[in-house]
């Protein structure tokens, strides 16, 4: 698993000096449900470790427990940044089993999914308080970013002084509006990408190295 990558990184670490941090920074991937957090986490993990993090789905709240991928070594401009990525459940203020019924789900399953999703949000908020060193905030660029959840989470992240990278995902879709996200959070840099298609991932990795290295 990533033997060549490790070897390459080891060499670059030696040649470039003492870049490797003692402990990898733990980077939480946060955002509302269905923004593409798991797709991004899988993209990053596959690109640099060959593994996936978790299943992706169009159905909201597919990720109901935080999943961690440790020691993801990202190489940028001759230096290596090692991070642990934590894919978190989508944060929301309301969870309703009825929205799952549209996805061909039985009521019992929908209610259970709803309860697990709620526990997942509680867990994600707990992680944000105690366990992350930086945040990648993923937004669906086809939807309005001016929501209570986004405002509150970005506010919490700022109050914690956590480094935060805002990603405008789903640029491959017709309704994508990256500028709207940039306008919503002008105090942060907004990076457009399509995690699904892998578009603009180079810039994303550069920024990850810059922000979290």
């Amino acid at each position: 698993m990533g033997l060549l990558t490790n070897l390459r990184d080891s060499i670059s670490r030696v040649t470039d000096g003492l870049f490797a941090a003692d402990e990898p920074k733990r980077i939480g991937i946060y955002g509302p449900p269905n923004a593409g957090k798991t797709t991004l986490a899988n993209r990053i993990a596959r690109d640099w470790t060959g593994d996936a993090v978790g299943p992706e789905s169009h159905i909201p709240h597919e990720t109901r427990r935080a999943r961690r991928k440790e020691n993801v070594e990202i190489e940028r401009n001759g230096r290596t940044v090692t991070i642990d990525i934590v894919d978190t459940p989508g944060v929301t203020t309301k969870v309703d089993y009825k929205e799952f019924l549209d996805h061909d789900m039985e009521k019992d399953d929908a209610v259970r999914r709803s309860r697990e999703a709620t526990e997942g949000v509680a867990e994600a908020m707990h992680w944000l308080r105690e366990d992350v060193d930086g945040v990648i905030y993923v937004l669906d660029s086809t939807t309005d970013p001016f929501t209570q959840v986004n405002t509150m989470l970005i506010g919490i992240i700022e109050s914690q002084d956590l480094p935060a990278l805002i990603l405008a995902n789903k640029t491959d879709l017709p309704g994508s509006d990256v500028q709207q996200i940039a306008n919503a959070f002008p105090q942060h840099e907004t990076i457009p990408l399509s995690a699904l298609e892998g578009d603009n991932m180079d810039e994303v990795y550069t920024k990850i190295a810059e922000y979290f290295g």
Binding site: K107, A110, S114, R115, E119, E123, M125
Partner: protein, 230 residues
């Protein structure tokens, strides 16, 4: 005194924040919820029959069931087995019994039936719910649940047997309201429908790791690791 530590039996008033950092006496982190109406029953045992369990006292066989129902809650609290105590569920049903002695029984059983499958008290193994089913079932069988007793007493009065299974019953709703007053971080609107107070979830040091539809909950606290669990 709605909350009682299952380890040492210490009780806490409604809305108390004292318990949020663990039981001050023993450090336990498991509590059972006892609404105000249930306390008197628990203390006086069968004495509460005449007041609360009209249908029970009206009929011979179920009179003993109602009696037992009243006595059930104190047993786990006074017992010396704190681990199993989170399986006792006196609160929701007693409360339902208090307010509506023989009405709409079915929602409660359906909730209770769903619980063993999906909403067990698992602290570390929420993901492995299937593994918990047998443990949950056996734990359940050790103490006759007040829910079953409740149903037994209701059967005496067929006139009030509820027709619908999915209708939420006022007793449960009232319980949810009371619980919501204490846990403002997650509001249970109805089974499967939740409203979350993100700031509250973020602000609290402990966090809710298991939700259950009947009003029970498990919270984990940093300084309680290893104390309540065996």
């Amino acid at each position: 005194m709605p909350h009682q530590c299952t380890s040492c039996g210490r009780t806490f008033p409604d809305g108390s924040k004292e318990m949020l950092s663990g039981c001050p006496d023993c450090g336990g982190n498991k509590f059972q919820f006892k609404p105000a109406g249930a306390t008197a029953d628990a203390d006086s045992g069968g004495a509460a029959d005449s007041g609360n369990e009209a249908p029970g006292s009206a009929a011979g066989p179920s009179g003993s069931a109602a009696d037992q129902s009243d006595r059930t809650p104190p047993t786990p609290a006074e017992g010396s087995a704190p681990v199993a105590n989170d399986e006792s569920e006196p609160t929701p049903d007693e409360r339902a019994a208090d307010r509506r002695p023989a009405d709409s029984a079915d929602p409660t059983p359906s909730d209770a039936a769903a619980s063993p499958d999906s909403a067990t008290d698992g602290t570390e193994q929420i993901a492995d719910r299937s593994d918990e089913d047998t443990a949950q079932a056996s734990a359940r069988s050790e103490v006759v649940s007040p829910d079953e007793l409740d149903r037994a007493s209701r059967d005496v009065d067929p006139a009030e047997t509820p027709p619908a299974e999915e209708e939420p019953q006022p007793g449960i709703d009232a319980l949810r309201d009371e619980l919501n007053d204490q846990f403002e971080s997650i509001r249970i609107v109805s089974p499967g429908q939740y409203e979350l107070n993100l700031m509250e979830l973020y602000d609290r040091q402990e966090y809710i790791i298991s939700l259950q539809e009947d009003g029970r909950y498990v919270i984990e606290m940093p300084d309680a690791w290893g104390i309540g669990e065996e």
